[in-house]
Point group: C2
Chain length 306, copies 2
């Protein structure tokens, strides 16, 4: 296998109450990337379409991951990478994670699959360091494992795949405004009341139970984020109205995707998800803010060969 | 049905990382209670064996719950209650909860079962108010639902039953020292670092996943309490040695039962649980502190007719 084309899905980190611990992959939104073995024994990024990202492999998430893996595995070949971004960096939908995880998945395939999914997450986390300065696992883990993941621990890294109900659908609105993860993180106080923390972990437990049981009511009840949303929503225009409109349209609940600005809603079933999209549209259409809306199933497969 | 004898199990609240949100019932340790319909249209506690508890029904958890239910349901009969305590109040094993939940279960049976389990928990919580001053749901919910429960929310009260693996066993040591729940609660700071809270809810998610998946390794990894244990263990003699001995004997992990002083350990399988009991014994046998040790399956049935 010397030449592969892959799909690396967009991902939603945090998932409301699951702040810094949960994430899931989308099914139909994501980047395409082409990886070719070369004789050069180095990494070259020969094409980037759809976004302005560095061609220097030492500064590009995909390049950093590929170089690291070739070095670690003492590969006797190099890699040429083409990146076709299908969703925008800075959306809160794991753009750098898609590049990093896509590169980890593809280089592993070119190497003959010596690495486990957990290994690939560790490599991809180094791409996140290159792209945004910190080794966060949530988006890359969701991209590599597919479906829902729980980052149970960082030291040692422990990732748990969580099942999800077949009718669960996602509606996402991405206002075209910029929010830097670093800035969004600073908004959240470094300490929180014990009572708030207890309510948050009770909801995390509820969300995970709801996903296992395919219990949409439990999922809906558990989508309460007392920790990040109260602070971060201030940076997302019309967040409360989006929430009201989505719930009124039948959504199980909504949350900020990663650190925003994208906002996701869960629905039971395709029809409900379409109604939620209409509800989101009704709030944003006259605001003068550019935005995209997406609809997706949960991406149970994650990153994959095309 | 005018005369019933019931078994109300001891319960373990908190369950390590699940502080103030999780609990489970034991199978073979608990109180027996006898309830008889009377013509008096009032509640009488005619016998209490095994502990010094108030005979005044307004001050006794079982009496308070029974009176409340008879009043709410406009019953045309009264109830005579006999209580046979088989484990000690103040153990951290839900002694007052067993009385309260046992009464709720039994009076519901005498009434012809008009109430749901959730209703019974609400009644039983009033017994907890009488016994210890606060309307905590965890022990009474575990007693009534059986197995593991998650208190997802108090307002509105939302209790989720969580399955558990068939080979999960509990070893419990109860040092005969007194710890008041109120005092134990004061030890825990009212605020905690966000990082600690995130690690805690990641472990709650892991524990719940492990219980659903019958994944003993995940359960073991998730039994980390960063919130209560570091403070409360100071009141439990030789806690760290108990932990080391239990883990060395093969335990999946240990935790403080409720606010202590009882300490529980999980094991995979009966044999492992027996080894853990030996390990616990080896720590306490020469301390001069009186103690009991119990071994049990998870009490999947909860409170029940005898």
């Amino acid at each position: 296998m010397d030449n592969i084309r892959i799909f690396a899905p967009a991902t939603v980190a945090n998932v409301s109450c699951g702040f810094d611990a949960m994430a899931f992959a989308l099914d139909n939104l994501g980047d395409e990337m082409v990886f070719k073995k070369t004789a050069a024994q180095s990494v070259c990024i020969s094409k980037i379409e759809g976004a302005k990202l560095p061609f220097d492999p030492h500064k590009n998430a995909a390049g950093v991951v590929a170089a690291l893996m070739l070095e670690e595995s003492k590969a006797n070949f190099g890699v040429d990478i083409e990146i076709f971004k299908k969703f925008k960096p800075g959306s809160g939908l794991g753009s750098s994670a898609a590049s990093a995880a896509g590169s980890a998945f593809a280089v592993n395939a070119l190497l003959g699959k010596p690495y486990s999914n957990l290994d690939l997450v560790k490599f991809a986390m180094q791409g996140e360091v290159a792209a945004c300065g910190s080794a966060i696992a949530d988006n890359v883990a969701a991209c590599i494992y597919g479906g829902f993941v729980l980052i149970r621990s960082y030291e040692p890294l422990d990732i748990i795949a969580i099942p999800s109900p077949n009718q669960l659908r996602v509606s996402i609105i991405h206002p075209q405004i910029e929010i830097k993860t670093e800035d969004a993180r600073k908004l959240i106080p470094e300490d929180l009341p014990l009572k708030t923390a207890i309510a948050q972990w009770a909801n995390v437990g509820g969300l995970i139970s709801g996903l296992y049981e395919s219990n949409y009511k439990t999922i809906a009840n558990s989508l309460v984020d007392l920790v990040a949303e109260p602070y971060r929503k201030q940076g997302i225009p019309h967040f409360d109205e989006l929430k009201t409109a989505s719930i009124e349209a039948g959504a199980l609940g909504i949350g900020i995707s990663g650190s925003g600005p994208a906002v996701f809603a869960f629905s039971k079933g395709e029809d409900s998800s379409k109604e939620v999209v209409k509800g989101m549209n009704s709030i944003y259409k006259n605001t003068g803010i550019d935005y995209n809306i997406h609809q997706s199933q949960i991406g149970k497969k994650g990153v994959r060969l095309l």
